[in-house]
Amino acid sequence: MNLNAEGLSKQYPRKTGTANYFYAVNPLDLAVRSGEVAVLTGRSGSGKTTLLNMLAGLLRPSEGTVRLDGVDLYALSDNDLSRLRSEKTGVVPQGGSVIDTLTVLENILLPAQLYGRALPVDAAQQWLERLGLAPLRDVRAAGLSGGERRRVAIARALAQDPVLIFADEPTGDLDDENTRLVLSAFRACAHENGQAVFIVTHESDALQYADRVYRMESGQLSEA
């Protein structure tokens, strides 16, 4: 699996000042490789999440391309891109990203259910146990704490067995023990299963699990 970004940038209209647009992400080239954990750090507002969203097929770039095994993501139709997202990527976004009306297990099985694929019940159970969520399996997500919701989103991303895992501040709401648990799980995914993991964080803890570290400053990417 190869994910390559070429000349990728994102501009937003400026509300004040003389120039009409500003770069949230300056034009950049980047490759995300299988079997590696890549960690992107940087200060808040530096453009990390924007870059992650563009790489994950969630945000159309202003310029440049993102190719997954040679396929230009943003040249695909919405239907094809959505299917590809569902089959190949697992995304853990910032903030709560579970559906409150569903139970924990239903949330985890949802991506497969949307496309009528076989439900990964065993994998779901396994991740629930690994992330300490097994007792909450049938609890409605509305009643979960911030940390629990975050771990459910992680379990949902991992249970689909995607080739690409994107995580935006995955340990933001977690205590030290759970942070270690989650980050080792990501590392195991990359090193044992050969999945590509791309983590955005501003916590230094994550760096020790990284195979490659990038820094982002005012939309400018550099490899550390």
Partner: protein, 399 residues
């Protein structure tokens, strides 16, 4: 199917929201179905009255003067008895331009032991009658025999049952179809039976005798020959017959049809008002609900739901709400209108003939379909707006 079950689950797990949306659409269905049934029943009633008043002119004794009370006999089934000499019929037939003339004789029964009202008994001449007889023929293949009666649909008496009128035993031989008019509460018999009943009434001290003779009738129904002016024939009849009033049926029907048009206008205005209000609320409600669920939809996009899928899910949910509301609203309207049709008829004071089961079912199905479509369409705008946004942007906005 999997996505459908997701929509159903989403509705079931937010029962408050679902109930509120269903309630709104229920109002729409209630207004449309209820309004249409009332208007349709009034139209049916008018048509039925027109058919039963197949005459152009009705001659009644001047003592029955007030057209209003005569009209009430048809509209509400109030009893009335007034008599004139039977020779009026022959005199009417002699008038140039009269094609048919048929007599009817009315008698109000004494209060029957069953209930506190008098029943109107109407005697007809089966051979010449062209207004009531065709209607009786639909329920009774033969002519009414001696002491036989046919009862209107609102008189509860089974075929074969004996009812007593002035202590005379009359056999019920037919129950007539509903007309939605006052004729439904009357009992019909032949002139011979009527004469026997008149005599019995006289024996009981209820006098109907008039000075001129024994043979009495209450009204003559006149049909004007094609090519003759009804007004001319009317004035000829009035000129020729003394102490007799000629009532033009058209004027009676016009009165009824004017009231009907008034009610139709009110009902239509009401339906439009309810729809306008409910539509605005529905559009606002969907816009707000979808905004509130922004995060949920962004998550769905994130895990691979396409725009089309998302719009489909929103439309399915709103259509299901519409279906629920449509069924509830139509059901409620049916529950209020069908069992209480008689009460509505009395309150409106107009001929009121409910549509038959087939038409009512068709109307109900149409109403439910309409509400489903309207509910789905009103969520469409919000669904479209939702699917235009990139999931990444939606996630950020929804945080």
């Amino acid at each position: 199917m999997k996505r459908f079950s997701l929509s159903v689950r989403s509705l079931l797990r937010k029962p408050g929201r679902t109930a509120a949306l269903a309630l709104l659409t229920a109002f729409l269905a209630l207004a449309v179905f209820g309004g249409s049934v009332v208007v349709l029943s009034l139209r049916n009633g008018l048509n039925s009255l027109e058919a039963r008043l197949g005459a152009d002119i009705i001659l009644v004794p001047s003592e029955a003067q007030s057209k209003v009370s005569f009209q009430n006999m048809f509209l509400q089934g109030t009893t009335g008895a007034f008599y004139m000499d039977a020779s009026v019929l022959d005199k009417a037939l002699e008038v140039n331009g009269v094609e048919k003339a048929a007599p009817q004789t009315f008698l109000a029964s004494l209060k029957a032991d069953c209930c506190s009202v008098k029943i109107q008994v109407i005697g007809i001449d089966p051979e010449t009658d062209f207004t009531v007889q065709p209607w009786i023929s639909r329920s009774l293949a033969r002519e009414l025999g001696n002491m036989d009666v046919a009862v209107g649909c609102k008189v509860e008496a089974g075929v074969g049952e004996i009812i007593r009128i002035y202590d005379q035993r009359c056999k019920v031989v037919a129950q007539l179809e509903s007309t939605g008019t006052g004729l439904d509460t009357a009992v019909y018999c032949s002139m011979d039976t009527m004469n026997a009943l008149l005599k019995a009434a006289e024996d009981k001290g209820v006098s109907h005798k008039i000075e001129s003779g024994d043979q009495v009738i209450s009204a003559v129904y006149v049909k004007v020959r094609d090519g003759y002016s009804i007004d001319t024939v009317n004035s000829q009849l009035t000129g020729r017959l003394r102490k007799v009033t000629a009532v033009r049926t058209r004027s009676m029907l016009t009165g009824v049809s004017d009231s009907l048009a008034g009610i139709s206008r009110t009902v239509t205005a009401l339906i439009v008002a309810v729809w306008a209000l409910a539509l605005v609320i529905l559009l606002l409600a969907y816009a707000l609900i979808i905004r509130e669920r922004n995060r949920e939809f962004a998550v769905l996009r994130l895990i691979g739901a396409s725009r089309r899928m998302l719009s489909g899910m929103v439309l399915t949910e709103s259509a299901l709400c519409g279906l629920l509301g449509g069924l509830a609203g139509t059901g409620l309207a049916a529950l209020a209108l069908f069992p209480f049709a008689q009460l509505i008829e009395s309150a409106l004071n107009l001929p009121y003939l409910m549509p038959d089961a087939g038409t009512a079912l068709l109307l109900a199905a149409g109403t439910v379909l309409l509400t489903v479509m309207v509910a789905a369409l009103s969520s469409m705008a919000a669904a479209c707006r939702l699917s235009r946004v990139d999931p990444g942007t939606a996630l950020r906005e929804g945080t």
